[in-house]
């Protein structure tokens, strides 16, 4: 029996009707072979529009329908649900995108109409060969993994755990806290960063639903949404946290001094160390990069003095396997590399600092106990130059993007400096001030008005040392004159970049990066916390530069998304998956190699599809020389007919 097809063309107000003669498209389609009904309506997605489709399917006993409207990413679900409501399989409904792919990109009504007709005809040809499909049902592991223990990771972990689901929080450093714990005060309220973060860290460590794994890294991930298998490498700290009493005797005897990462290299620490006093978990770690050897004969001093015998040189790296249902990636940021910013003397002159170093100088727990002193001679700097956009907004030499938070923290830095050194002078070189955000503009105004910070609109050309001062040559483009400042200290608002190792993790997780290496969201507006891989979500500065409130908000958003998976009994997977024609498959395995989802494998010389892993991307289909593997409802025969229709045949 011949299949009956209905076509429904949407005006989308004038979005489509402005460049496409919708009535003509519907009329032409009515004459197309195999089309029984062809109608148009002003807003097909509205209730009356949907009802029109439902009634028509029932009345005309249609086998399948084509809705010519906007992109299927928007209303495919709407119309498939309508088709289902009318009693046909949802996959018997296809969308012909005549808006994004036609009306919006064309100006000429005649050409636009002709193209819309072809697009719709090609969808008619496709839908006619569509198979009725049922979603694939899969069980859910109701636990989550959070990668990264900065503020975003902490917030996401707490939000998920507080709904009652178990969370594994993985952090590669010995303590959670991320960069936020290094900060002195936070804008725009100038409250102490550690004071607001440490309660959350304690909550994480005490939470019965959170399994905290510090000094650990995700090694391998397999599986799919709802059922990921994660291998986590737990690096040995050589200190038993249960036995350690935090007496600090070990650091006194340790002979090795290493760079203190927490103080951004402004101070040193021992090879055995606690990252900072409020570290979570509160314990020491032995950094084997500096330790002379894990045998008593090499040194062994720390073990000798450790009364509770907490030091265990035999501790080994462990690989721990965990099953989780959803994953949140909150790997944060690092600062743009020093060596790239040599024009500002960064990395060359001791008194040219980056923003995080300045945070440490201002911090009560910092190397100078909160006194702002020059690292070189411990004198109070009387003139300090702050340079914004150091590495940001510079597509020729550095990063093209805006690091977003620098305008605000530079204002804060200048303000804090003035609070510490009231008779000092702060200068800020800037391109523009971007202070959008609640209370942000007022904050910047406060820096100018109350603290007398001098804002100079312009770029700095050169920074060099001269007679114990740091000479800063710049230009004030508003006054139109060159500026020369003999500064005691220069603070760079260094660009943010994705944290080290993020690109390797991206490959393991099979999520995507944008051109700058930040994690790519599934849709910049409507799916900002979802990664391109289902079940994996993004939080914090790993996705793009952002400040604390934004990171926290995104983390809570990601947590809600993760919970929306964990709260399901079963998940449903799209049945548009690859299918192998066994008689054509020669078992060459090329599709196995190209499959980005590891959904294919060779079995007895033929390819086998794991339907749950398959996302229906069609890479295998494009690779197979023999057309032996095809995604359901996108078969060569369908594509052939679609091409024929598009060519006007």
């Amino acid at each position: 029996m011949k299949k009956k097809t209905g076509v429904f063309v949407c005006h989308c107000g004038i979005n489509i009707a402005g460049t496409v003669d919708v009535k003509k498209v519907a009329g032409d389609l009515a004459k197309h072979d195999g089309v029984d009904v062809s109608e148009d309506y002003v807003y097909m997605c509205s209730d009356p529009g949907q009802n029109m489709i439902i009634e028509s399917i029932k009345e005309n006993k249609l086998d399948n329908v084509v809705v010519a409207c906007c992109s299927p990413t928007l209303h495919e679900t709407t119309f498939r649900n309508a088709a289902k409501a009318a009693g046909i399989n949802d996959f018997q409904c296809e969308i012909a995108n005549i808006r994004e792919q036609c009306s919006w990109v064309h100006k000429d009504m005649d050409k636009g109409t002709a193209k819309a007709t072809k697009i719709t005809k090609s969808a008619v040809e496709k839908v006619r060969q569509n198979e009725a499909l049922e979603p694939i049902s899969i069980p859910v592991t109701r636990r989550a993994l959070v990668i990264g223990g900065g503020i975003a990771g902490i917030q996401a972990a707490l939000d998920i755990a507080n709904t009652g689901y178990e969370v594994i929080l993985v952090e590669r450093n010995p303590s959670i806290g991320g960069h936020m714990i290094q900060l002195s005060e936070t804008f725009p309220t100038l409250d102490c960063s550690q004071c607001i973060l440490s309660p959350k860290m304690v909550e994480v460590s005490k939470h019965p639903k959170i399994k905290l794994m510090t000094y650990s890294e995700v090694q391998e991930i397999s599986g799919y949404v709802g059922n990921f298998n994660v291998k986590i490498l737990q690096k040995p700290t050589y200190v038993d946290p249960d036995k350690c009493t935090l007496c600090d005797e070990c650091t006194k005897v340790c002979p090795v001094v290493m760079t203190n990462e927490f103080d951004m290299g402004l101070t040193g620490r021992k090879a055995i160390y606690i990252p900072f006093p409020q570290a979570i978990p509160a314990t020491y770690a032995l950094d084997i990069r500096g330790c002379p050897g894990l045998v008593p004969i090499a040194c062994g001093k720390c073990a000798d003095v450790c009364e509770p015998e907490a030091i265990d040189y035999d501790m080994k790296a462990e690989i721990i396997e965990e099953e989780v249902g959803s994953i949140i990636v909150a790997t944060g940021y690092d600062l743009y590399e020093k060596e790239n910013l040599s024009e500002y003397g960064y990395g060359k002159y001791t008194d040219v600092l980056d923003g995080l170093q300045f945070e440490r100088l201002c911090s009560a727990s910092g190397p100078t106990q909160g006194k702002v002193l020059r690292p070189s001679d411990h004198k109070e700097p009387k003139e300090v130059v702050f340079i914004q956009c150091a590495g940001s907004r510079d597509p020729e030499l550095h990063c093209a993007y805006c690091s977003k938070i620098c305008c605000m923290y530079t204002a804060k830095h200048a303000m804090l400096y003035k609070h510490h050194v009231p008779d000092g002078q702060a200068y800020i070189f800037y391109i523009d001030i971007r202070s959008g955000g609640k209370g942000y503009e007022e904050f910047v105004q406060r820096a100018v008005e109350e603290d007398g910070v001098v804002y100079l609109r312009g770029k700095v050309a050169k920074v060099f040392e001269d007679k114990g001062k740091i000479k800063v040559w710049g230009v004030d483009t508003l006054a139109g004159k060159d500026i020369e400042i003999d500064a005691d200290m220069v603070v760079l608002a260094t660009a943010m970049r994705p944290s080290e190792g993020a690109s390797e993790l991206v490959k393991k997780l099979k999520i995507a990066m944008d051109k700058d290496g930040f994690l790519a969201e599934a849709h910049p507006k409507l799916r900002p916390v979802e990664s391109v891989t289902s079940g994996m979500f993004l939080a914090g500065a790993a996705q793009a530069p952002k400040d604390i409130p934004e990171a926290v908000a995104q983390a809570s958003g990601a947590a809600a998304k993760a919970i929306s998976i964990l709260s399901q009994e079963r998940l449903f997977h799209s049945p548009m998956v690859a299918k192998v024609s066994l008689n054509l498959c020669t078992g060459c395995g090329m599709c196995v190699e190209v499959c980005p989802y590891d959904a294919l494998s060779l079995k007895d010389g033929k390819v086998e599809v794991n339907e749950v892993l398959c996302e229906g991307c069609g890479t295998c289909q494009a690779t197979c020389l023999r057309a032996a593997i095809n995604v359901k409802n996108t078969t060569p025969s369908q594509v052939h007919e679609m091409i024929r229709a598009s060519l006007g045949g």
Partner: protein, 343 residues
């Protein structure tokens, strides 16, 4: 130097010991100088095997035939097949291994090094003979081919007789083998893609004119496809009648058969056929030159495949047929792969 006796000895041994089903090699042809493929089952027949610069055929095609025949047998003889291969032919085996079409244990490879020469081009030879009949051909120590003809000999410098592919050869001895005869010194080839230069210097219009003329000649005898060891698909895109129907073939599969190419040998369809073949051989063709050799219309098919070989080499650093464990060109992706073709 390759001593054909060593080849015969090994063939005899493996046949006698029952290590192989049969040995595929070269034997003297019935008509003139050119040899024909030999299939030796009896150890006593090994003296039929020959080796000389006329052994042009890529015998690996018979491994494909063997696999297809075996698939149809109820109780197949699982022993390997012995096969004589040159450097280029061995690369075809590598591709078949890479594509898991055959297993390494299915073949016993008798590799022969072309040393510093290669095989001759029949057409070039015919030009030199000017109607005379050649009885024998040998390489002298100065690198000349000495052709015995009735009433004397003709001496020709090797490069004037060698097949084009041998002049551009990058694997003058087998990459994979169980026994290797001859010298393993790498041949120096300064310009492996020299033959393409002239074609590449033509304008788009001139190239179109050239190929229109060449491909219009094609009678679609499919000799190029039949001789190619990489054309092993059961069903070819150009055949709609030859669709491999088995018990598993569903009705929708049968209904879904598409006629991508018309059967008639008209220029447009010939273009599609040759383009599809060339694209399907990208990163797989190992330049054995057989397609061009067997073409009854002298279509310079090697240009198409050589060009794609060059593209693969220059864009992706990929050389077909050297490493069986490497993923094939079309199934591998590297972050640093060029994308400048996306416009």
């Amino acid at each position: 130097m390759v001593n054909v006796e060593d080849l015969r000895k090994e063939a005899k041994r493996i046949l006698k010991e029952g290590k192989v089903k049969y040995v595929i090699g070269y034997e003297r042809g019935q008509n003139g100088l050119m040899p024909k493929p030999a299939f030796i089952k009896d150890p006593e027949d090994v003296d039929r095997l020959i080796w000389n610069p006329t052994c042009v055929h890529n015998l690996t095609k018979f491994l494909v035939d063997e696999k297809k025949r075996k698939a149809g047998e109820k109780k197949p003889d699982e022993r390997p097949v012995g096969i004589v291969v040159k450097g280029c032919d061995s690369r075809a085996i590598i591709v078949l291994l890479q594509e898991k079409y055959i297993n390494r244990e299915d073949v016993h490879i008798l590799g022969i090094s072309c040393e510093q020469t290669g095989v001759i081009d029949e057409k070039k030879l015919a030009n030199k003979l000017k109607g005379k009949k050649a009885e024998n051909i040998e390489l002298d120590e100065k690198g000349n081919f000495v052709i015995s003809v009735q009433g004397g000999t003709i001496k020709v410098p090797a490069e004037e007789l060698l097949a084009e592919r041998c002049l551009e050869c990058r694997a003058n001895y087998p990459v994979v083998y169980d026994l290797l005869l001859g010298d393993k010194t790498k041949k120096k080839v300064e310009e492996p893609f020299k033959s393409l230069e002239k074609m590449e210097s033509l304008s788009e219009k001139e190239r179109w004119a050239f190929w229109t003329e060449q491909l219009a000649k094609c009678i679609r005898c499919y000799a190029c496809r039949s001789v190619c060891p990489m054309c092993y698909c059961d069903e070819c895109v150009v055949d709609t009648i030859n669709f491999a129907v088995t018990a598993d073939t569903t009705a929708s599969e049968k209904a879904g058969k598409i006629k991508w190419v018309e059967k008639s040998p008209v220029p447009s369809e010939n273009f599609v056929y040759h383009m599809v073949r060339a694209m399907h051989l990208a990163g797989r063709c190992i330049d054995c030159g057989e397609c061009e050799r067997v073409c009854p219309l002298d279509i310079p098919l090697r240009f198409l495949n050589k060009k794609l070989e060059k593209e693969a080499k220059e864009l992706f650093g990929y050389d077909a047929g050297f490493d069986p464990d490497e993923p094939s060109l079309v199934s591998s992706f590297k972050d640093e792969d060029p994308e400048d073709f996306i416009r």
